[in-house]
């Protein structure tokens, strides 16, 4: 804890951190000063007046500076002229606070009465009822009666859509401005505001579409009444009917901690269903925020089109079968293929699934032909050595530190990281972006370096050289940027894959790794490299050894297996695909070269439609497991709903296969897979088990718990903060990386690059109807110099690699000269040479 001051709250002496507000300081000694507008994550405004308390300072004689004593020899306290708002006053040494005097109590009574006289009191039908700070504080501080006649109440609109996702009940709103301030201060999407004044003050949205923000759902968490509700949950259930289940977001590499609220309900046929998703506090990961993708992107879990039963192709048609029949067939075929078999996985499954998969393929089937089906980004073996140090917390990056973001649009790819980097910038961290176009982060950067398509690696090398030669660096250009970076105490570097092939990102990671090694910005807290992985468990997939060249724990393998691209071109005698759709993604042309194809997935995707056997897997919501986020934090999630149909967890399916192929009995639980297999087989995970991953500690600011006034959220983290594994640099020297020459994607004409979008219409998000209108639409953005007669709104053909896409053109100043940006289309690696034709 930093500098502290001593204060006295209701007679309790306490030592509290300097700079805290009186409200937050009092909370540390278990004195609850009620609030509505105050939130420890927002700047104080002091507008609801609920926190009025007496605040006094010891008196000193103006002339002599001697303490002024009373008759009993105690120093007198100057209580000022009136009550002050505890949320705006910062603690000072010697400060006295009284929260229980008659006039303080009277002030609370008054404010509650005022708020209630304009409130509809429709608690019996309100979504917030039962977890509502206004309800709670009314129970504690309300008078229970009022002189104001009910019929004089002002009535306002109760169903105001603030866009597709969030609804506003103007009558319930108590004008605390938490939502407005959250959008302005925290996420920098100032799309909400107040309109009118006085009793007519009302929340409006300025944006088109309404409430256009990736963070809108968070406002419903911090709303202290039921004024803001998500259209996902609105009128969906009463809070006390809900069972909270701790989980981890199945989207994005940040590993957002979430709580799933579930309910068993008649209207869902007696099933337990997910009613809503809310943040769970983890100050190291997502604080108390989640993106709307995580909040609304859960509907795939209980979608109607989930695979419910195993299927086996008979007479050319996939037909429902028993597990026994399907697994026996798969076991036989895989065993027969042996070393000629191959296994490909996605990067969304749990560590348990991924470890079991590679173990089955390597040990039981006997092949190293294992890879990610659609690896977009390389360098996992680099981050394993020079990744961010254990204990790294982006929330601690401040003045004197530097953050580099290379080839990534964090706002779209990893919004939580975008948020935390942005906040670090606001705290004084120097942020440097290196991209081929401008991104949302650039308004907060110290320097934005734009490179030409194909020049990413050269730019990174120039940066590395600049850092090496910082002392003799000249002014301007990358050298100056490099010099500024070397002045930083701590450096974190993010790298992504926009406009780069997986090979290029591999080299990029090595160059950036070498840059961090120059001044020892590795192996310690708040220093190191982070890959902006495309999915929630890409990190875990690499850790578990889903790679033809290395096994669990990045242990190199003597006989390197075939990579995914080898398998697509050369084929395989038997191919086992878990949680991926290479045919749908357009990277596998068909199954002609595949002898036997088995697909294990949630849905009957394009690859599964061509498979010989289809195995129904469980989504993350139906089982437990662990994901490892991009900061290498291993985090546990828990089962929330019952399995759909006959689906099974991937690790269970694999265990049953293994048994059929002569391996041991399947494990009983995911925890045992972790303990017996992963902790034993992956050195980095050696010290972890489900119990250690579930450990929690007190977090600040204190925003959850039993308090009356921050309620209405599921911030409390009772189920684990996770554990980071240590990089090689933390236990010893790391040598500089070799940088293999790779083919850089350069083109002669307009360089066409696919950019990521948060809402991509893939197999998961397409089940969230709410997000339908926000989904990235297939479009191409062209610089006006390159437009060649094309203007915004035109339909254009984009021809590349023998395929043609029809896209809507935007000539809107987003694409730099010589670059065309594709949005809302499936992943395309690197820079492509496309022909862009009008009509």
């Amino acid at each position: 804890m930093s500098e502290t001051v001593n204060i006295i709250v209701d007679g309790i002496e306490a030592e509290v951190p300097k700079g805290l507000t009186v409200v937050d300081a009092a909370k540390m000694v278990a004195v609850d000063i009620p609030v509505f507008c105050h939130h420890p994550k927002l700047e104080p405004v002091g507008m609801c007046r609920m926190c009025l308390v007496d605040i006094g300072m010891p008196m000193f004689d103006r002339e002599t500076r001697e303490p002024v004593m009373d008759d009993d020899g105690n120093q007198q306290i100057n209580w000022g002229r009136g009550m002050q708002t505890g949320c705006t006053v910062r603690v000072a040494d010697g400060m006295h606070v009284r929260t229980t005097t008659d006039h303080v109590i009277e002030a609370r009574n008054t404010v509650i009465e005022f708020l209630l006289t304009s409130h509809p009191l429709d608690c019996p039908i309100c979504d917030k009822g039962g977890e509502c700070p206004l309800q709670n504080l009314t129970m504690e501080h309300g008078l229970g009666d009022t002189a104001f006649p009910f019929e004089d109440k002002m009535h306002n609109d109760k169903h105001v859509p603030l866009g597709d996702l969030i609804a506003l009940d103007r009558e319930r709103c108590i004008q605390c401005a938490r939502c407005v301030r959250f959008q302005d201060e925290v996420v920098d999407d100032p799309v909400l505001g107040f309109h009118n004044r006085g009793r007519k003050l009302e929340i409006i949205t300025y944006s088109d579409p309404g409430f256009d923000s990736y963070w809108s759902g968070n406002t419903t968490d911090i709303c202290p009444v039921g004024a803001l509700t998500t259209n996902d949950f609105r009128f969906g259930a009463r809070p006390w009917e809900l069972k909270p289940v701790a989980s981890i977001s199945p989207h994005g590499p940040e590993g957002e901690n979430i709580t799933m609220s579930t309910r068993q309900e008649a209207k869902s046929g007696g099933r337990v269903v997910i009613k809503r998703i809310m943040p769970r506090q983890n100050e190291q990961v997502n604080e108390i925020w989640i993106s709307d993708r995580t909040r609304f992107g859960h509907h795939f879990a209980d979608a109607d089109d989930r695979l419910m039963t195993p299927m086996v192709r008979k007479d050319g048609v996939l037909q429902e079968s028993s597990w026994e029949e399907a697994l026996s067939l798969v076991a036989t075929k895989l065993k027969d293929a042996g070393a000629n078999a191959a296994g490909l996985t996605g990067d969304r499954m749990s560590n348990e699934d991924l470890f079991a998969f590679q173990s089955l393929m390597r040990k039981t089937v006997g092949t190293n032909n294992i890879d990610l089906a659609n690896a977009r980004i390389g360098g996992a073996e680099v981050t394993a050595k020079v990744g961010v140090g254990t204990g790294t917390n982006l929330g601690e990056m401040g003045a004197g530190d530097a953050i580099i973001v290379f080839a990534s649009d964090l706002h779209e790819e990893a919004p939580i990281w975008w948020l935390r980097v942005k906040q670090a910038a606001q705290r004084g961290t120097k942020v440097f972006t290196f991209n081929l176009r401008e991104t949302r982060l650039d308004t907060h950067t110290t320097e934005t370096v734009l490179y030409k398509p194909g020049d990413a690696l050269d730019t990174a090398r120039a940066l590395l050289n600049g850092v090496k030669m910082a002392d003799s660096a000249g002014d301007g250009g990358i050298a100056a940027v490099a010099k500024a970076i070397t002045e930083a105490e701590n450096i974190i570097a993010f790298y992504g894959y926009e406009g780069l092939t997986a090979d290029e990102t591999g080299s990029l990671s090595r160059i950036l790794g070498n840059m961090l090694l120059v001044n020892g910005n590795v192996g310690r807290v708040n220093n190191g490299l982070i890959a902006v992985w495309p999915h929630n468990n890409t990190q875990g997939a690499y850790d578990m050894g889903i790679n033809p060249a290395f096994g669990p724990g990045y242990k190199e393998i003597a006989v390197v297996g075939k990579s995914a691209s080898d398998i697509y071109t050369e084929g395989s005698e038997a191919l086992y695909i878990m949680g991926s759709d290479p045919i749908g993604d357009g990277i596998m042309s068909g199954r002609d070269k595949i002898g036997f194809l088995v697909v294990q997935d949630l849905f009957l995707n394009a690859t599964a439609e061509l498979a010989d056997v289809v195995l129904p897997a469980q989504s993350w919501a139906e089982r437990d497991g662990t994901f490892t986020n991009g900061e290498r934090r291993v985090q546990r999630y828990y089962p929330a709903i019952a399995p759909m149909g006959k689906s099974k967890a991937d690790w269970q399916i694999i265990g049953m296969l293994e048994e059929k192929m002569g391996g041991g009995k399947p494990k009983f639980a995911a925890s045992l897979v972790f303990k017996k297999a992963i902790a034993a087989g992956v050195p980095q995970y050696k010290l972890m088990d489900y119990r250690s991953l579930a450990q929690v500690e007190k977090q600040y600011p204190d925003v959850g718990g039993e308090d009356l006034y921050y309620g209405g959220t599921s911030y409390d983290n009772k189920h684990g903060l996770g554990q980071q594994w240590a990089t090689a640099a933390e236990s010893g020297e790391v040598e500089a990386f070799d940088i293999p020459e790779v083919k850089t994607s350069k083109v002669s004409g307009i360089a066409t690059v696919r950019t990521a979008a948060l809402y991509t219409n893939g197999s998961l998000l397409q089940h969230s109807e709410l997000l339908e209108t926000r989904m990235a639409q297939p479009r191409i953005m062209i610089n006006e110099d390159d437009a060649n007669g094309i203007s915004t709104g035109d339909e254009v053909q984009v021809r590349a690699n023998g395929e043609t896409m029809m896209l809507t053109a935007y000539v809107n100043g987003v694409a730099p000269q010589g670059v065309a940006l594709l949005n809302g289309v499936p992943h395309i690696a690197g820079v492509i040479d496309a022909e862009i034709i009008k009509g």
């Binding site: 104080p44 005022f114 304009s118 002002m154 006085g198 009793r199």
Partner: protein, 422 residues
């Protein structure tokens, strides 16, 4: 005595730059530029100019709160003049604008600002356009812009229009509005001298306050301090309105004129309108406590009404004759405050709403004794809990009239109770 502020009443066309200069205009600025900024601040401190916007905070002390050294600083002229019954700043800026510009320039020089914003009440659009001429002339004459009068001092001046909100006379709400935000006050600290316009140190002074500055520079602090009383130096513009024969602005030396003289004096209002009897007056518009005939012997100064439980404020005197229905008057003023409440803090937003509702019911003859008690309770429960002065003062009409004219309320609710229930 010649006018100090309302010089246009002595010198025709002083609003024109050449006439202003020919009559000693911008001499105060020249004098100031020949002194160090600290000396200017000390001169204003010594003169004891108190803020004319109503609160009476000494201008020199306010200036001395500004941080020393370089860095962007601003002077903001508060011309939001919105208090009920106030219309003095408009006349000053319409008829004697250069004196305000000069005062603002002296302030800017004293605190190290190079930018003056004049925040105009939205409804004063026409007057503001007229004032643009004075600014243009001052630029052309070398009194604004770069290297003013060859001194090396740079200062720009901009007019800014509000959208017509009472609350924007509150300095932090004014600054929010100036910055393009919603016109709502912020909870101080930070004070404008720490973080004001665009989060830079800022002095916000009333128009009349700044108009007092040039004469002080020309004639010296002693001259000014000798005008008025010990606690209230200089002269004050009084805005007389209501049921008087000759309403209007009058410049008086502080402490030398009683409210009785203002109403009945030949130089001033020349008596009540239609010879009616006097009932009560509001010495500082709607936001000051109402006073009774005994207070007519109080004089116009910051301390002159202390004995009568009221205050001079911005000296917007609203006179009410014997026919005035005090419940109606309270409703009228409460309606104003309810309409102008920004809605930021709970007690003001909700309290003004309910005060008006309840007064309305009483006025319409539907009130009960309980409603009178409700008024009393609401008004008192707003006090000491609001974020800014608007809410704190918004209860004045109700508290004042209940204190002195409760029987008028009672008679209104009795009428109702006399009607037999069906």
């Amino acid at each position: 005595m010649a006018h100090v502020i309302f010089r246009h009443r002595d010198v025709e066309n002083i609003k024109e730059l050449d006439v202003y200069v020919a009559n000693g205009g911008y001499e105060g600025l020249k004098k100031a530029l020949s002194m160090t900024p600290e000396e200017v601040v000390n001169e204003i401190k010594a003169a004891g100019i108190r803020g004319r916007g109503g609160a009476g905070f000494p201008a020199g002390i306010k200036w001395s709160f500004m941080p020393k050294g370089d860095g962007q600083k601003y002077i903001v002229i508060n011309n939001d003049e919105s208090e009920t019954g106030t219309f003095k700043d408009r006349e000053i800026l319409e008829e004697n604008p250069h004196q305000v510009i000069e005062g603002a320039l002296i302030a800017a020089y004293a605190v190290g600002a190079d930018m003056v914003y004049c925040y105009w009440r939205g409804e004063y659009m026409d007057a503001a356009y007229a004032a643009e001429k004075a600014i243009k002339d001052a630029y052309a004459g070398g009194y604004l812009g770069k290297d003013i009068l060859g001194s090396g001092f740079d200062c720009d001046y901009h007019n800014h229009f509000g959208a017509g909100a009472y609350i924007c006379g509150e300095e932090t709400a004014l600054l929010n509005s100036l910055m393009g935000n919603l016109g709502q006050p912020w909870s101080k600290p930070p004070f404008p001298a720490q973080a004001g316009a665009y989060h830079k140190p800022t002095v916000v002074n009333n128009v009349e306050t700044l108009a007092n500055v040039p004469p002080v520079m020309v004639n010296g602090a002693d001259w000014y301090a000798n005008l008025g009383t010990d606690q209230s130096n200089g002269v004050k513009i009084v805005c007389m309105s209501g049921h008087v024969a000759r309403p209007g602005n009058y410049e008086v030396e502080m402490g030398k004129v009683t409210y009785r003289e203002l109403i009945y004096g030949d130089e001033y209002c020349q008596g009540m309108r239609d010879g009616k009897g006097f009932k009560a007056l509001l010495p500082s518009g709607g936001s000051g406590p109402v006073v009774l005939p005994d207070a007519l012997d109080g004089n116009v100064s910051f301390e002159g009404l202390n004995a009568y439980g009221s205050m001079m404020g911005s000296a917007s005197v609203i006179v009410m004759d014997e026919d005035t229905d005090m419940v109606w008057a309270a409703l009228k003023m409460t309606h104003f405050f309810k309409h102008e409440s920004c809605g930021k803090c709970t007690p003001c937003r909700e309290g003004t709403f309910w005060l008006e509702k309840t007064l309305h019911r009483i006025m319409e003859g539907h009130g009960t004794e309980d409603d009178i008690n409700t008024l009393d309770r609401v008004a008192h429960s707003m006090q000491g809990k609001c974020l800014c002065a608007l809410g704190e003062f918004a209860v004045s009409p109700v508290i004042g009239t209940l204190k002195h004219f409760r029987e008028e309320y009672v008679s209104k609710v009795r009428q109702l109770e006399a009607v037999p229930a069906d």
